[in-house]
Every structure is written in C-alpha cells, then in structure tokens.
Symmetry: none
DNA sequence: AATGAATGAGGATTCATTCAT
DNA sequence: AATGAATGAATCCTCATTCAT
C-alpha cells in the first residue's frame, strides 16, 4: 500500500553543488519538503529518509535542525498556521460593506482550499491524533483570535446598518463558514467515489462555490 | 510517538477458553477491533499485531478472513458506510413537514457525530490517501443516493407548499448540512487548541447544535 | 521473488463434485501435484497450501496420507526414481549390438530429459540439501544397479567382439553418459543467459544430441 | 527440516569491537557469508537473519548495501561468475600442445569442483528458478566467451597439427567437458545414496578424474 | 555544517501443522 | 474420509535515530 510518490522537488534540487554550509537554506528546504510529505502521507506515513532524499540533504541534518520527526512536524504545523493567519490578515475586510465583507471572506476561505489542500491534510492528521503535537506548541494558540474579532466587527456593523440579522455569534459563524467550505475539500476523494462523480472538475467546484456564498449570505441577512 | 492506547475490549475479552471454532464470531471480532484501531490510529498507525491481541485471536486469522491489512481496512470502511446508510434509512423523513424534516436531518447528522467519531476518523484517513482503497470497493459507490433522493423530495414538497425557497440543489444542500456539522467534529481537537477552549463540553456542543439548525433553516426558508 | 505460477491442473480439476471418499484418487492427485510443485519450486519453495489448492483437496489430507511435507517429498522422490528405473527396464538393450545398445542408451537418456525435467529439478533440490531426505528412504538405494549391470554386460560383449575398447568401467561410463546429457538440461537456463542463446530451441537441442552420441561412441570404440 | 548449520565464520568473527565504520569490509563480509548461505540453502532456504548474524553485522546493513535479498543474491552470482572467469583466465592454455591444453582444461575444471562446490550449488538454485535473477544482470552475459574462443583456438591448432580430429565444435566440447565433470559433483549426494557408496572419498574422486580425462581425450583425438 | 555507516525494535505477512467436527 | 478453523514461530523488510568523522 504505497502512496503516489511525490515528484522530486525542483526548487530543492537546484543548488546542489554550489550550496555549501547554507544554514538557512538547508533548514528551509527541509521544512518545505516535510510540509509536503506530512500533508501527503500523514505523520506516520511520512518517512524521514524520504524527506532527506527529496530535500537533498543528509538525514542527519533533520536532527540537527529539528531534533526529531515530531518536532519537525510541529514546525510544519506552526509554519502553516502562520501562513494561514497572515493571508487572513491581508484580506483587509474592514473597509467593505458588512455583507460584502462576509462574501469576500467566504470566497477567500473557499479559494484558499482550491489552491492548496496542504493545510487540510495536516489538520486531518493532527486531529486523528487528537492534536497531541499541536498542544505542545507555545506559539499556536490564540493565533486565530484576530479573524474572530474581525468577523465580530463585521457582524456588529451589519446589525447597526440593518443588513445583518442580530443574534449571530462570530465564532459560530466562523466555524460554519469554514466548515461549509472545508468539508467539500477535506472529503473530496471519498465524496467523488460515493457519488460517482469527479468533484475536482472546475465547473463542479465553481458550482459549489456559488452555492456556499449564496447559502451563507442567506443565513446571515437581516 | 505512540497514540493513547485504546482500552482492552470488554466485549471481546469474555469467552476466552470457551469459544472454539466460531467462524462468524472470530470474523466479527476482528472487524470490530479493526474498526476502532483504524479510526484511532489511521491506516499506517494501526498495527495488525495490536488488532490481533485486542481481538484475542491469532494474528494469522486476520489473513485467513481478510487476506491483508488493506482488505481488512476496506471491509471496515464498507461496514461503516453500511451502518451510516441504514441509520439514514431509519430516519423516515418523508412523513414530516418539509422544514421539520430538514431540521430533523440536521439534528440527526449532528447527533450522529456526537455519539461516535469513528466514521469521521476513517474518512480522514481515507481522504488523506485519496480514497485509494475505497475506490477498490465495488459495493460502496451510489450507496448515498437514497438520502439525496430523500432530500430532493423534501425540497420539492417545501417549494410546492411555499415553505422552502426554490433553486436549491439537493446534493449541494446535503454537502452543506453535512459539512456544517462535520467540520466542528472532525477538527474539534485543533479548534480546541487554537481557540483555547474545550469544544467537547456538553454546553459548547449544544450551543453549536442550536446554531447549526438555525443557520440551515434560515438558508433554506422561502 | 515469486516463481512463475504453475497453471491449475486440468487432470486434477475434473471430478470436483462427483468424487467422494476416493482414497486412492485423492492420494494420487496429491502426489501428482506435489511432484510438480517440488520440481518447480524446490522443497522450501513448495507450499502445502498451494499443493492442497491445486490438488483440490483439503490441506488436512496431505497429513492424512503423508504425515508431513517431508514425507510427501520423499514419496515424490521414490515415485520418480521408480518411474526412471522402469523406463530403463523397458529399454531392453541386451538384444542389440554393443555399440548400438550404447548409442540407444545415450539417446534414451538424452531424450528422457527433453521430455521432462522433473527428475532433474528434484535431484537438484535433493542434492542441495545433501540427500538428507533420500537417505531416509529404505526403498531407493541399489535401485540403479540393474542399469549398471546392463552396461557392464554390453561392455563385456563389445570387448569380446572387438568393437569396444577394454578397460572401461560400467559405473564410470554410466556417470559419464548421464552427465554429458544431464548438464545441458540441468543448467539450460543459466547457459542460455551466459551464452546469450536460447538453448531450448529444437535445432539447438538436436545439434547437442548428435554431438553427445558421437562423442560417447568415439570414447568407447576399440 | 533444518539444514546442518554452517559453522560460525572465523574470518568474519575476529574484529568485533575494533571495527567501526568500515564500509568496504562490511559489504565484503556480507557478500562472503551470503555466498555460503545461498550455496548451502538455496535462495528460499537462506535467511537474511542468519546472514546478518554470521556476518556479525546489523541486519539493516544488508538492505543498506544490497537493497533486497534478491539483489544480494544477484551480487553473489555475479561475484562467483567473476571468480570462475578469472580462474579460467589464469589457465594460460595457449602455450601448451593442443592435447595437453585440453587435458589441462579438463583437469582444471574437475579440480575446481573438488575444491569448492559453491558455484554448483548456486547454479542449481538459479536453474530451478529458471535463471530468473541472473537474467536481470547486465554484467554476466557473454562472460564465458573467452573460454570458448580459447578452446576453439586449441581445436584449430590440433586439427592443423593432426593431433585432434576435425569437425568438433568448441561450444559443444566445452559443454561436454564441463558436464562430464559437473554432474558427478552436482549429484554426488544422491549418487552416493543410490549406489550405496561414498563418492566423496579421495580415491573414488581420483578414479573418476582419471576416467574423465581419458574419456575426453579419446573422444577428441584424431 | 555536513556526511555515510550503523543500530534495535518492530511491522506485515507466511507457513507447516494440529484441532474439532 | 474429509473439512475449515486455529496456531506460533519465523521471515523479509522498514524506520527513527545515533555514531564517528
């Protein structure tokens, strides 16, 4: 039972002979490759040998920079949460009309999964092991508060303007929006089998996108 | 990195010396234990040794009845889909008013995850490996059509009666409902860390349940 | 590293439902299949499961009739030696002119390997394990004396008639004749690779046959 | 059914604690031990665990240096063919009179099997599996051409000088010479049982040797 | 900083054989 | 006579990690 092998990494492959004692580069290359490996194969399925091979570094370097497979995996999780948060940060929702801001957030969330399911895969792995590793992070928690605060602001503004119904909780809404986007992608392979359809086709995806935006706005409007 | 071990299986433990040559029983016991193992540890993380120990059978029997770890895992997937489908079947939504029927379906979906996250865990594993194994099943696909047909019937009835807005697609709605319930549970561990809250507490869960039912009905009403 | 699988046995396949409690038939079928299995895969490579499957009998029957894998293997060896001896017996060399008799024996030996390499394969296996099993037979030894006696008679007659040179030992000659035929077939696969030729082609075989007969007669003539 | 165990390897035993990180040495030791194991037990009968134990290396090293049991076995085959070829090379037959050269080649072939039956045993195994592994070698084929060319030269010279009869084919003669020596050793255990004699006794062996040389020369002389 | 060699504890799977009917 | 269930000891191979340089 072997996963489809990830292709050799072009970005990583390049500076083979040139590079010598490039601390930051080596570390970054390990992290990049490890992110893909853990996302594609899960924690147990990812092999340190493969990561070393694909990163074109000596296996010993993994331990030099990250101490253990688990620590490397945690570094991957933290990096990926960082990226997600800073992408949200760049959204700049405050300047939009409340309903437009929500629509944009839904689209942003949905599209982020269209581009890349790395985050979803890592979270699947981490939840299967009950967040055992993520719990050990001292950087990750409260990382998501800004987006909840932003949504809270939008809701309040919308209620004030009469465009959004009162009584909505920002955290619940965030979970709902994320979930309604997330599930389609997190389960896209089994859904494709069960419904005997290829859910990855662009038109299926854009149909889904339209439904999600419409549905969320419906549920939120005054 | 070892998962918290599943507790020894009481059901399985009982008839140690009494049982002899109980074909159906042995098979069933393997399947039960394997379901929990694969759900708790994923495909790679589950160990045939552990399954054999916990099922209190000789390891060789796994191969006698299921040929390989992968086939055993597929049998688990099929069994679990079967159960899900027959639970849906018992719902008997047709007799209710359209909006009530939808509410009941949402509650049923949500509650099924409250009781048992086995299905969620297995799907997480299976999606991480791109449904590689599920694809090989010749029993699973189209298994879910009945529920889509049922929802379609509800939507049509609701539109006729003027209680449900027109233009909704049954499959999209099913994905939305399932997703809005599913994500909360599939990601409950990482969410708990990120938001520094215990999302498993009963009052958090029932708050979430109320929100979901309310939100779906809002999105559906005429 | 899996051997080319032997095809399902038509002879054995037939009387599936008809046969019931056919002691001699069951035993014979096991022996037939086992002969092929041991010849094709060696002692270690032959699997009792496969033998049972191909003989279409319950695995337990092997133990019923033959006690163990090793005993079954010994029965195969004995049967195969029996057949070889009785084929030699039918040769009836005494009535021919000494040189013709030798020529005929060479051809017979050579042709017996063309038809069937079962014997060669079994002997290869048995010699690799230093005749450990054959030693345990109380039927096999001295089985080959008749042919040596026959050759001895031929040599003496030929010397008397002046057609065969004196000083030849019957046993040495038997080994030489057998060896000169045997080696070509026992090593036909590696020879084919080493010399990059297909030694199994009919014309290659008949060229070899002519050489062998010619060479032996040359070595023997007065 | 366990083969007589090979005695612990003195050569390998020595530098237990001293040796550290000796790449070439480790590889060579594995290859040596594996050669004996495969020769004594065949491919299926040889156990990687035993090889590791006897080579006094960690089992993992076998896979480090040779990737798999089959690759290790192929390396053994190639090494053994290499040795055979270079021994032939050292023979330097060209300087001798044609008949003496052939006599010497026969004696050399015979004696090589007296010293060591490793090669015979490995070929027995490999032929039983139809040269499946040897076929995969890209180094082995055409390895034996030099000796055929040498014999061809001898035959031509002998014919020219009138000491060797015309019409002999070098390849056929090589097969005949090899076979006439080989069979006695490849089947020495079963022959000993069948003829109830110990064919390994020195005087039996030298009697055989004299016969073979005499017989080949007879078959070749003008 | 970087490397290749080395390790020990598993991991899935196979196998000849025996048990209970 | 015949069967399917059950067993325990191997067997090849893998993996995260450490050693020596």
């Amino acid at each position: 039972m072997r996963e489809d092998d990830v292709k050799p990494d072009e970005a990583a492959a390049a500076p083979r002979l040139v590079r010598k004692r490039d601390s930051a580069g080596t570390r970054a290359r390990i992290l990049n490759v490890a992110t893909r490996e853990f996302a594609n194969k899960g924690f147990e399925g990812a092999k340190t040998d493969d990561i070393a091979d694909r990163a074109r570094i000596n296996k010993r370097m993994i331990y030099h920079y990250f101490s253990s497979k688990e620590q490397l995996y945690l570094a991957v999780l933290e990096a990926v949460y960082d990226q997600a948060r800073s992408a949200e940060h760049r959204l700049d929702l405050e300047r939009l009309e409340p309903l437009d801001a929500l629509a944009r957030f839904v689209e942003f969330t949905f599209d982020s999964f269209v581009r890349d399911r790395t985050f979803i895969n890592l979270l699947a792995t981490e939840n299967r092991q009950r967040a055992k590793v993520l719990k050990k992070s001292d950087r990750v928690n409260t990382m998501n508060s800004p987006i909840i605060a932003a949504i809270d602001g939008i809701l309040k503004a919308g209620v004030d303007k009469g465009t959004i119904r009162p009584g909505l909780d920002a955290l619940q809404l965030w979970i709902t929006i994320t979930g309604v986007c997330y599930f389609f992608f997190s389960n896209i392979y089994t859904l494709s089998v069960i419904f005997d359809t290829d859910f990855e086709k662009p038109d299926v995806i854009s149909e889904r996108r339209a439904h999600v935006v419409d549905f969320v706005l419906r549920g939120v409007k005054a």
